[in-house]
Symmetry: C2
Subunit: 206 residues, 2 copies
């Protein structure tokens, strides 16, 4: 079972490799990835060794080859269709964000329950009625769901998503939601990011 | 030097302790925190030992006491004033999000450069002209800056923030920005969250 932190580091290695590739580095040493991310060289090599034998001892890794390997591990060598529920401020921002497409994630279906929004277009996509979730998700063959509705609606939306066959959910609502055992749930809480800053600021004061 | 992952785990321990406290657990064992977060018991104890001697061997920790200790470590026993720049979709969503206040982070000043937005009120707060950043940040004594402007504007906004005395920045724009050595910069990239899901989905297929 691969730890969450390892998966997150793999995503970070990918971004560093991307940049190193653009800067002309055909080969990458583990210490370069380590330095860029402020982690131990041994951690990088330990992470990569979990998935196979990449690179040659003393020779480092071929940049594009390692990048490709990590993309495979993270499932990024294909496109993923995403459904988003709750086209409010946050949902609209995510819908317009180009960073997701860059990694192969395409928001192809969006839903809301506000009659003023249903049927309207946003960022080139029509907003569907949430009551049509199951047939549209099946027709579009989306595999990932993003929840950006208010907290009280989050669990019912998660239920609709899992009943429609979605096996992976990214939840932004500040609500503890439960999903079936075979569904992967990831919760986003941006206050964690602010706490990382307050940790730093409060130590700085000494 | 405390690793980033440790700081993130401390925030997670806090949330678990909060819940355990609400459920009536006056005492908490490290394995309870470990189980809830799907990490090793030893990792929990290792993290906490970095900051002091909490709890008694074999007795666990007093829930409210440990919660208080972690809040101190993370700088959460006081309020923090936050400035936000870029009141678009994402900025508006963050402005309305109550989760930040719950941890003591108050967005007290927001800025934009769009004449249609400047002077208007959003979520009870007036949108200031970005050209007034320095005097307002000084007057409000904000210590944290949030950047939610488009990528091309991110660096110039970061420069304005650091020149105004801000020492901690949370950046959402997909741009690599540089800050002075004594400024803490945290970047948010939500596609990392989606990659955690695609990792899971692509392995599931086998
Ligand atoms: N995780 C974080 O760090 C973070 C940050 C900001 C916002 N949020 C959360 O994200 C969510 C969205 O925030 P926002 O500012 O965009 O809110 P919003 O009110 O602007 O948008 C919510 C949208 O969901 C729709 N909706 C409500 N109930 C629905 C239902 N049952 N089915 C379908 N659609 C429904 C609404 O019509 C609206 O369009 C909130 O839960 C908020 O607390 C989280
Ligand atoms: N990190 C992530 O995962 C993630 C997710 C969604 C959006 N984003 C990013 O967040 C940013 C905001 O996204 P959005 O959808 O809210 O965009 P938006 O266009 O709706 O909002 C941008 C706001 O910034 C203002 N602005 C532009 N230049 C400015 C300047 N120089 N000074 C002050 N204000 C200025 C605009 O007037 C507007 O109000 C973008 O960079 C986007 O790529 C990141």
């Amino acid at each position: 079972k691969i730890p969450e932190t390892t998966i997150a580091r793999l995503s970070s290695y990918l971004r560093v490799l991307d940049e190193l590739g653009r800067m002309g580095f055909d080969n990458t040493a583990s210490y370069q990835l380590a330095e860029e991310l402020d982690i131990n060289d041994s951690q990088v090599r330990k992470d990569l060794s979990l998935f196979g034998q990449f690179g040659k001892p003393g020779m480092g890794y071929e940049t594009t080859k390692l990048k490709r390997e990590i993309q495979k591990i993270l499932g990024l060598t294909r496109k993923w269709k995403v459904a988003l529920i709750g086209v409010g401020n946050l949902g609209s921002a995510l819908l317009a964000y180009k960073g997701f497409k860059r990694q192969g994630f395409y928001i192809v279906a969006v839903f809301d329950n506000d009659p003023k929004k249903i049927g309207k277009k946003w960022a080139g996509i029509v907003i569907h009625d949430i009551t049509q979730l199951k047939p549209i998700i099946r027709k579009e063959r989306t595999e990932i769901g993003i929840i950006t509705v208010p907290a009280p609606a989050a669990q019912e939306v998660a239920n609709l998503l899992t009943k429609a066959g979605i096996k992976a959910i990214l939840n932004f609502a500040p609500a503890r939601i439960s999903v079936p055992k075979d569904v992967r749930l990831s919760n986003v809480d941006l206050s964690l990011k602010l706490e990382n800053l307050s940790f730093f600021l409060s130590r700085r004061g000494r």
